[in-house]
Subunit: 341 residues, 2 copies
Amino acid sequence: MGSGRPTIHDVAARAGVSKSLVSLALRGSPRVSEESRAAILAAAADLGYRPNAAARSLAVRRSRTVGVLILDLHNPVFPEILDGVQDALRTNGFSTMLVTGGSDPALQQSEVESLLQFQVEGLILISHRLAPEVLRAIAAEVPTVVVTRSDVPGTRIDTVSNDDLVGAGLAVDHLVALGHRRIACLSGGDNPVSRARVQGYETAMERHGLGRLVRTVPGGLTDTAGHDAARSALGTGTGPAPTALFVANDMAALGAVAAVQELGLRVPDDVSVVGYDGIAMGGLRSVDLTTVAQPLGEMGETAARSLIHRIEHPRARARHVTLTPRLAVRGTTAPVAAAGS
Amino acid sequence: MGSGRPTIHDVAARAGVSKSLVSLALRGSPRVSEESRAAILAAAADLGYRPNAAARSLAVRRSRTVGVLILDLHNPVFPEILDGVQDALRTNGFSTMLVTGGSDPALQQSEVESLLQFQVEGLILISHRLAPEVLRAIAAEVPTVVVTRSDVPGTRIDTVSNDDLVGAGLAVDHLVALGHRRIACLSGGDNPVSRARVQGYETAMERHGLGRLVRTVPGGLTDTAGHDAARSALGTGTGPAPTALFVANDMAALGAVAAVQELGLRVPDDVSVVGYDGIAMGGLRSVDLTTVAQPLGEMGETAARSLIHRIEHPRARARHVTLTPRLAVRGTTAPVAAAGS
DNA sequence: CACGATCGTTGGAACGTTCCAACAGGGAAA
DNA sequence: TTTCCCTGTTGGAACGTTCCAACGATCGTG
């Protein structure tokens, strides 16, 4: 007593009832008389009583908390997914414990470890870098949902991702409809997501009878990677320059736009650029990037709902949800210039 | 046993020792014999034992966890502060519990409430919207540090912020050195931070003998607010147009850049623009915004260190740290055009 | 008028950990 | 030999909550 936070015992003593009744009353049980309830509530308010979540979770053996591991808060894609996650969790009475592990797999693993020590009931991994066997071991202990990647083996792990093949097709369709034919693809490097986007691009080009004009330039997922890839795509010596660029993600697309401008060309008059992701920043007036927008918030919500389902039905089979992206047409695409340059 | 996670008792049974000795061994006490230690470690590994943080925190009455409330993960300033916070906390053996409350004060309060239920030992508020009396009540219960705002009353709350007056001065000095005289300020609206930046602008203008040319245009902290404010600043009818804009933050500055271009003017040839904050996105090639950069990571680290100090010395007085920003000169500022337009 | 049912209330056990006082055994000192 | 002190180990209490079996009082019913 006295020292430290007030406990349920202190409230009981002040209200003149037993600790059990306080517990009942505070959780809104109907079988508590009106007077007792009023006295207890008053006592709790007087003392500034606040339930101890650690003690509760110990007693009920449930923490009502889920852990979220996020790769990198700097890439604006992730906060938007997170919004959806938190909304859905909150409305279902779960708390969120958020950690970031950077891109270091070991650090990520230790962060997940500490989430598990806190007895989280489930895990949402927003774009992790964990080794497959580590991931599998984790998923064996606690329901796990992976967002953004769908290359996860095993049936104990739910996944939520967007359909990169369809998305890349949307971009190509849009450009073709604007009259473009020489459409280059700046790839995002050697990871499953980027590979799928490149493949979607190639398939769509074939579908439009442009298979011979397929041109994929190796790149990466950052600003500078996009910049460099665009320079090499537009560089001289390799036949006629492309009139449009499909870039693996928005960050790289922004770099590509800068490169185009540095080369003395205009976007979109001389070269159209389409990104991928739909980050909010792409919608800023001074950026105004045409892009394939993933339903980021919806992906987050879906992930949270899948997880809750698995928590409530531990024997349920894993679900793999693929959502469909949509094209956001903005200012970096335009009909192909009348005269070939 | 059997069902659920293995506990310290299971480990003890398997290693053939008492639970107390397991506890000792796992925490690395020197007074455990080598054989016992080895047997215990082996048993723990076999069972996949993981300590229960809730039970520990109940027993030792310390959670070794700090709560972090972040206003908005979408504004890129905050993740960068957060990086510094997490680094410093991690190296001092604290876990982080991160929540976001959006801009709704009630929601923020309930998120803080749930942090307190988890028995966090301290709180870092990265730009909150809590009412002063709520804030004070919270700080009375648990050590609290506020980052970004320095207008907090009471001596029980530490603050970490940057010196907005000096920062605004840096921007004005830079523009004046480039030959600009008609420098307008696009304000960030009615909040303490924005007011300080405007005041710093005015003071600096006076200092350069440009007091008569002070011109403050009401604006806000978003892309569109900056856009609209820039349009009205550059609009006709109010004497000669400014040749440079000092904008309350980077997001608004990006909107201002877009507005300048829409008006058929070039940045920086016709109009120079300086932002404030130093978000990473401002450094992207296609953006390349000159700005007053706050030492964001350092602010986060300082906040974490202040908090840890207060946790370890509960009677310590609150510290109010003000860090100095630096100017990042990039592509949106240039010498004033030779001929007045 | 005794009986069981209902209502509101209660103490004790449990959750998994840490801490503390106390233990046995062996060696050194008396 | 007895005493004392180490070293390594142990059981029980505590942390703050929830759950459960059981309590006494009041009520209606036969």
